[in-house]
Symmetry: C2
Subunit: 151 residues, 2 copies
Amino acid sequence: MADDANLALDRQLCFAIYSAAHAFNRTYKPLLDPYGLTYPQYLVLLSLWQDDGKTVKALGEALHLDSGTLSPLLKRLEASGYIERTRDRADERQVLITLTPKGREMKGEAHGILMQIGKAAGCTADDLHQLGASLQALADRLRARQTPDTA
Amino acid sequence: MADDANLALDRQLCFAIYSAAHAFNRTYKPLLDPYGLTYPQYLVLLSLWQDDGKTVKALGEALHLDSGTLSPLLKRLEASGYIERTRDRADERQVLITLTPKGREMKGEAHGILMQIGKAAGCTADDLHQLGASLQALADRLRARQTPDTA
DNA sequence: CCAAAATAGATTGCGCGCAATATAATTTTG
DNA sequence: CAAAATTATATTGCGCGCAATCTATTTTGG
């Protein structure tokens, strides 16, 4: 019956995203281990390289993560010397996240890491861009159903 | 320079997969909560519906998970009544995972869940299938670099 | 047949990811 | 201007996900 076909599709897509995310994680791990970084921590650095000096909240919005995840993660990133956490003088509730020199230097290493990933992914930059765009669009649609902003 | 463009691509794709996986997770959560299931537990059921009576090892290969993840997860699935864990008489090292009646009945509920997801994803079954295939291919290429099976 | 190697699962420790809650600072209201 | 509501971050608890280690059971080889 059609139900079984639908279930197969469900399994295929859900599992594809789930396992692609894990495959990425596992591919990055050996590349990031030498720097004492995890994949989510690397994403934080990617975000800061683009735009340094964010608040925790802004970082959370950029990465779709909440303070329960970010607070301890950022403490570890500070402990390993990549970022600094400073209370905003003007609004003491906020914590500003800024790159240290070590954090900025790491950006230079990222290029080599990227090359490795590109090789491992084994397709053209265009293919990757296309896939990324499809995924982002899908994720955006899923998120739109969760938080009906336009009330 | 080109490096910055490459970094942007890196950020886009890595982040797209990472955040799409989380978006899926968050979309499934409210649908699975009423059944006391988590997303990885649901994936185990999907796999068993297709092929009941696997060993832990076979399940791990199907889902790309190891015993460190599966052992406690399967114990929870047993505790909530969806599966049974029985030692294989012929080889006492192995544990066979089989669906309980409750586990088999849950397959009927999956159809409704799937409909919800389809609606939330907001695209045709064909689109989803296409995207799933691209992702699976990418994940396979990434995994191929990690474990050079063909030694 | 028995010791060594291999195999299947389980356990431990650590880092997310998220819900729920707590705390502290700021803003809004009465 | 003080109490209440809001906002930003931190903490706690639980379930993965994975490396490393451990135990128990085959399987192999001498």
